[in-house]
Amino acid sequence: MVKVLKTGLYSTIQDLGRHGYQEYGVPYSGAMDIYSASMANVLLGNDANSATIEITMTGPTLEFNCETSICISGADLSPRLNESQIRLNKPISVKSGDIVSFGKLVSGFRSYLSVLGGFKTEKVMNSYSMYPGITKYAMLFKNMTLIIDTSLDGLDKNHAGIKVKNTHFTNKTMDVFKGPEFDKLSKKQQDLLFSQPFTISKDNNRMAYQLTESLENNLEPIITSSVLPGTIQLTPSGKLIILMRDCQTTGGYPRVLQLKESSINSLAQKITGDSIRFDLK
């Protein structure tokens, strides 16, 4: 069992998402950065789809009431086990009474904490991913207890840990494909999408990232149709909105570009004010 002493800014339980229910209007949800969440899991010997804690910008303080192993991947939020700094991407043994906490944000934006066997919170429609109206709780709260499987054997304690691709965090280029309405844009609009950098506005969350720069836009709305995480919509006011993991299943704005899966993961590590560019694949 793990007790939440402090929640951090916005911490949720996420696995790789809720699949097969989109025809009922259910969002996928799941880890914003699937690459890092999977990394945290597989380094512990878990299935990549095991439930992790997704930590956003500031970390929680967690008290462990049992022996287990954890692994933290993704953003570097200066994690600590009791008073000692711990490394990212390395399995760490914890004992009953140990406290895991976080400090300053060094790089990235979202961190993933996995535990041996995954967190066993409420599972709804084959997924542990928290989402308001689907799971009872939409985020971690103070004094919440998280159930874990204590019957599992820990890993080889001397596991070396690995180096992750640094470009995952530093890369500013987002690989994109043409979206269904790309061809409706004028040549000038198309060129503008690829010739200038865009800035991530303060309106960024698990549902969508809005970009600061506007594009002149005279496209009509479309008849409501399916959208996906990574779909880039062009709104009537000319703003670009990049849909993320908690996005709705349908939308009525033209879908001009589609992010490659790996770029959705990279984008999830960007922060307000970061600059990105689009590269057509």
Partner: protein, 243 residues
């Protein structure tokens, strides 16, 4: 009849199939028939099929270098005969209470439309609506068929919280909010029925292609039905339509 469809790769593992940009029931049934054909043919790698007004999204479980082969398979399948494709359409009778307790925009609508509240309720509840698809919120039905006299633009300032079950009109559309939500539609009633239950194997009882009728009920009936719905024992009236 067959339509001229377009097939577009959408990301690394989806194909978007589009019908001409029209909202009508012929298109809807053609989409549903194609969707059933894909399901029945058990195409390798297909994990999800999502229909909307004039589109069908086919999602695969693998990332493709090129989706061209998958598109060819789908194209072949579309032109195959479809006489034997069967799907069940149901008509659901949805109880709605139009009492002033819930119908917070009915008065304003009556003034603006120059229609009595009773006429609005009659017009709204005598139509057979078609469920085109579910989207926007879990369990939110996109319904077609709202009487033109009831078309009313969305509110200039959306409300921050609309009650679960609210029956509302937004532009040319009517619908039921399946959960609490912000929203700009005009609220004319409330249904005690749960349109989305995350704990059920199939979370929605309604499917694309089904029909809906709203049946006016009193406040007393609303409370009685609500009690049964909350206890999980309410039996909704429905009939199977001949496809």
């Amino acid at each position: 009849m067959t339509y001229k469809l377009t097939y577009k790769p959408f990301g690394e593992r989806s194909v978007l199939i589009e019908w001409p940009a029209v909202i009508d029931e012929h298109t809807l049934s053609d989409i549903i028939i194609f969707k059933e054909k894909i399901k029945n043919n058990d195409i390798k790698g297909v994990i999800e099929l999502r229909s909307a007004y004039n589109s069908l999204l086919v999602v695969y479980d693998i990332v493709f270098k090129s989706l061209e082969n998958s598109i060819d398979t789908l194209k072949q399948l579309y032109i195959q005969r479809s006489d034997d494709v069967k799907f069940t359409q149901k008509q659901w009778k949805i109880p709605v209470c139009y009492d002033a307790t819930f119908a917070i925009d009915l008065e304003q609508m009556s003034l603006e439309k120059d229609l009595s509240k009773t006429s609005i309720i009659t017009l709204h509840s005598k139509t057979v609506y078609t469920v085109y698809f579910i989207g926007f919120l879990p369990g939110f039905m996109y319904l077609g068929g709202l009487n033109e006299k009831l078309h009313m633009s969305r509110k200039a300032t959306p409300r921050l919280k609309i009650e679960k079950g609210a029956v509302a009109i937004g532009g040319k559309q009517t619908g039921v909010y399946p959960s609490h939500s912000p929203g700009g539609w005009n609220i004319i009633g409330n249904s005690p029925i749960a349109f989305f239950n995350p704990n059920n194997n199939v979370p929605c009882f309604v499917n694309a292609g089904d029909k809906i009728i709203f049946k006016p009920i009193s406040l007393k009936e609303y409370k009685d039905i609500k009690t049964l719905v909350d206890a999980g024992v309410y039996q909704l009236e429905s009939e199977v339509l001949d496809g």
